[in-house]
Amino acid sequence: MNEAMLGEIRKFVAPEFIFGADARLLAGRYARKLGGHRILLISDPGVLAAGWTGEVAACLEQEGLTVTQFLGVSPNPRDTEVMEGAALFREAGCDLIVAVGGGSVIDCAKGVGIVAANGGSILEFEGVDQVPAPMAPLICIPTTGGTSADVSQFAIITHTQERVKIAIISKAVVPDVALIDPRTLLTMDAYLTACTGMDAMVHAIEAFVSNAHSPITDLHALEAIRLVSTHLRASTAAPADLELRTQIMLASLQAGLAFSNASLGSVHAMAHSLGGYMDLAHGECNALLLPHVMDFNFSTAPDRYRRIAEAMGCNLRGLNEREGRSRILRHVLDLRRDCGIDEGLTARGVRSDDLSRLASKAILDPCNATNPRPPSRDDLRALYAEAM
C-alpha cells in the first residue's frame, strides 16, 4: 500500500472537459448554457493568424452572443495585460470569458477573471487560496499540447516590474469547461511542438515524484510520461499527423490532471524565474532544466524514478542507483535533443552574474514546496549553473 494513502486524506479536482477532434466547436453551446450574453474572447495574434480565434468567435455569434476580442497577450502573460483585459471586460459589460490559445492566453484569461470579479491588482492574488470571489464562467480551448492550464488550478503571471513570474493557485481559477481539441495542434511548428511536449513531460515527472502525489495522480502521470515518450519524436517530425497530435494532446491532459492535484517541483520553480527574467518559452525552460533537477532529486526518490524510466521505455534493470540515474538522464537528454531542443542557458543569453538573482526568485516559488528534495537557494543557483 502506498504511504500517501495511509498518511492522509486526498482530493482530486478536475473541470468538466470534452476531449476529441472538433471539441472547440462546442464553444457557443457551452457559453450560452453557462449564462453568457456578452463574451470576452481572449486570444493572441499567433492563434488569431492560425484562424482558431475567428472560428470560435463565429461559433459564439452564431448562438446570438456578443463577442468582444482581447488579443493583447504576449507569450509570457504580463500583469499589465491582465489589467487591460479586466478593464475591457468591465467596459464591454461582459459576463463570460472564452480563452483560445496556449498556456499564456489561458493564464491571462484566469487573471482577467480574478480581477474582474474581485477588483484590485492581479498581483494582490499571488499565493495559495488568495482569490475570495468566484469569477465569471471561463471556457478554455487550448491550442498547444503542454501547458494544461485549461484543467489546472494554476495561473502564472509575469510581474513586469520585478521581472518575475508569480503563481496564483486557487480552486477559483479551475475553468468551468475545457474544450480539448487535438486539431488545434496542427498549426504548431516543430519547435513549439517540442517545447510544449516537453512541458507535458515535466508536468508528469514532477507530479509523479511530488511529495503530494497520490494513487490517482500517479495513474495519470505515468500514462502521460508513456504517451510523450512514445509519440513526441514522431509528432515533431510530422506536425500534420492528427493521430500523433491526439496522443500528445491526451498526454498533456493527463499530465495536467496529475500536476493540478499533486503540484510540481523545482523544475517549474526555476523555469518560472528563468522565463520571467529572460522571456523564454515556458516549455523550453523546463526542457533545459529538467535533467539537472532530476539529478538533484534522484537519490531522494529512486524507486519513483525507476517507475518513470519504466514508463519511458528505458530499461534500468540490473543497474545500481548511480548507473540508473545516468541512464535515465541520458534518456531524457536524448529525447530533448531528438526533438530539437539543444544547447543550454548560455546559448539563450543567460550570464553567470544572473544566476544569483534567478535563484533568489526561484526559491520563493511555491512549486518548491512539493519537490521531493527541499532545495536551498544555493542548490537552485548550482542547478542553474549546471544548465548553462
Binding site: 492522509e8 486524506i9 486526498r10 511529495n211 503530494a212 518548491n368 532545495p375 536551498s376
Partner: protein, 544 residues
Amino acid sequence: MNEPQDWSQLRDSIIGLGTDSSRRTYYPELLARVAQLEETRESLRRSEENLLTLFNGLNDAIFIHDWEGHVLEANDAMLAMYEVTRETFRDHTIQDYSEGPLTLAHIETMRHQLDRDGSLVFEWQARRPTRPNAPLDVEVAVRRVCWYGQNALVSVVRDISGRKRLEAMLNQSQRLDSLGQLAGGVAHDTNNMLGVIIGYADLLLERTEAMPNLRRDLEQIRKAALHSADLNRQLLAFARQQAIQPTLLDLNAKVEDTQKMLRRLISEQHTLAWHPAPDLWTVWADPSQVEQILTNLVVNARDALGTGGSITVETANTTLGAAARSMPDAEPGDYVVLRVRDTGRGIPADVLPHIFEPFFTTKAQGRGTGLGLATVYGIVRQNGGFIQVDTAPGQGTTFAIHLPRLPGGSPAASAGPAPDVAGGHESVLLVEDEEILLETAARILEDAGYRVTSTANPLEALRWVEAGLAPALLATDVVMPGLDGPGLWERIRTLRPDIKVLFLSGYPASNLGLAAPRLDSLGFLQKPFTRNELLQSVRDALEV
C-alpha cells in the same frame, strides 16, 4: 537562505486541504439575493399601487404628454373631465383637448418659461372631444418630467368653471347693489317732487267740485303722478328701501290667498299648479311684498311660456349647510323656499347674468317695465333671503326664492280697512327741508282745520319751542341738514314731554335709527303720500 525551507504548510494548501480551498456553494447566497429582489419588487409594486391610487384619487386631471402633444398617460380625473375612456384617451392629442389653437409660438413661450421657472401656470379653455362646442374653463400647471426615459411634460388641469361662475355671480350681485343705490337715490329725490304734485292736485281737487272739466284734468295729473310714485316704489323695492311691515307669515296661506288673482294673470292656454308643502315653517316678511314677488314671477313665467305650458308654484322647507358658501348671497341656515317653475323656453346663458338688473328686459317694447325681477330681487334681499335660478335653453326656468325661517309664532291677522279721513284743530309744528313739500303739506293740513307752524329749518323749529311755542304734534322730515328728525324730536320732548310726533320719510321706518319697540308708538309716513294718507297719519299720531 542556504538552508532548505520548511514547505510543509504550503504543500498542504497547494494540494487543496487548506481551510479556504474547500469547494463552497453560492446557492444560499443566491437564494437570499433572490428573496431580497422579490421583496424589493413587492415593495416597489405596493409603492406603485399607492402612487397610482393617489394619481387617480386626485380631482385634477393629469396628462403626461410629449412635446408633440401625444398623450402618454392620464389619470381617472382626466377621463372624467374630458369624457374619454382608458381605451380612447390616447386617440387625441393635446391640441384636440384644447379649445384654442396651440401655436408654435405658444409652445416656444412655454419652453422658455419652463427653462426659466421650472413650471408654469395659466388659464386655458379645455375642449372635450365628444362635445366640441362646450369649452371648459381650466387652470393648467405644467412641469417637465422624465417619463420612462423620455422627455415629457406633466400637465395638471383644474376645472375652474365653478369658480368662474361664482366670480360672475359675485360680480352680478355687486353690480345689482350699486344699481340699487343709484336707483334708490333717484327714486327718493323724485318722490319729494311727486309728493308736491300729488299734494297740490289733491288741494285743487278739493276746490274744483263745481268744475268737472278741470277736475278731470287734475285727476289725470294725479293719476300720472301716482303711477310714477308706483314705479318709484318698485325702484325702492329693488334698492331694498321699500317701507315694509313684516309680520309672522304663513307662506302657504299667503299663496293660497293670491291664487285667484294669479289665475287672472295667466291666459286660458296655460295651467297653474299649486303644491303647498305640509308643515311649512313660518317666515318674517311683508305679506304685500310676498304678493309682489308672486305676481312678478308668475307674470315673468307666463311671458316665457308662449302658447301652452304650465306654471307650478310650490313651497318647501330646506336647510342649507356649507353648500351655501358656493352662492354669493346665501348663508347656511333654515329656509322656506317659494318655487315658481315654468316649462317655457328657458333663459339663454348670455342673458342670465342681467335678469335682475332694473329696466333690463327681453320683452317687446311696452310689454313690461323691466322692473319685475329687479323688484323681486330687492325684496328677497331686503328680507334676508336669496334667489336661485335654474334654467337651460328649452328646459324651462325655476326661480327658487329662499326666505329665512323664523322659529315659532303664528301668522298675524291682516289689517282691517282704513278708517275715514278726518281733519282737526290741533296745533302742528311742521318741519321739512324740502321747501316745496313743506308748503304742500302745510296747505293740506291748514285746509283740514289744523293750526300749522312750518319751517324748513329744524333749528328754527327748536328755537320756537324754546321761546314758548307748544304744538300738539311735531310732524318732521327725517333726514335734514343741521339736526335730523329723531334728534329734533328728542330735544323738543325734553321741553314738551306730552308732544306727539309723526315722521315723514322717503326711507323705511327701520332706517330711522330708533329701536323697534319705540317705533311702534311713533307715527310714520312714507313719502310720497296722498292728502288722505297725510291727514290719516296726522290724526293717528295725535290720537296715540
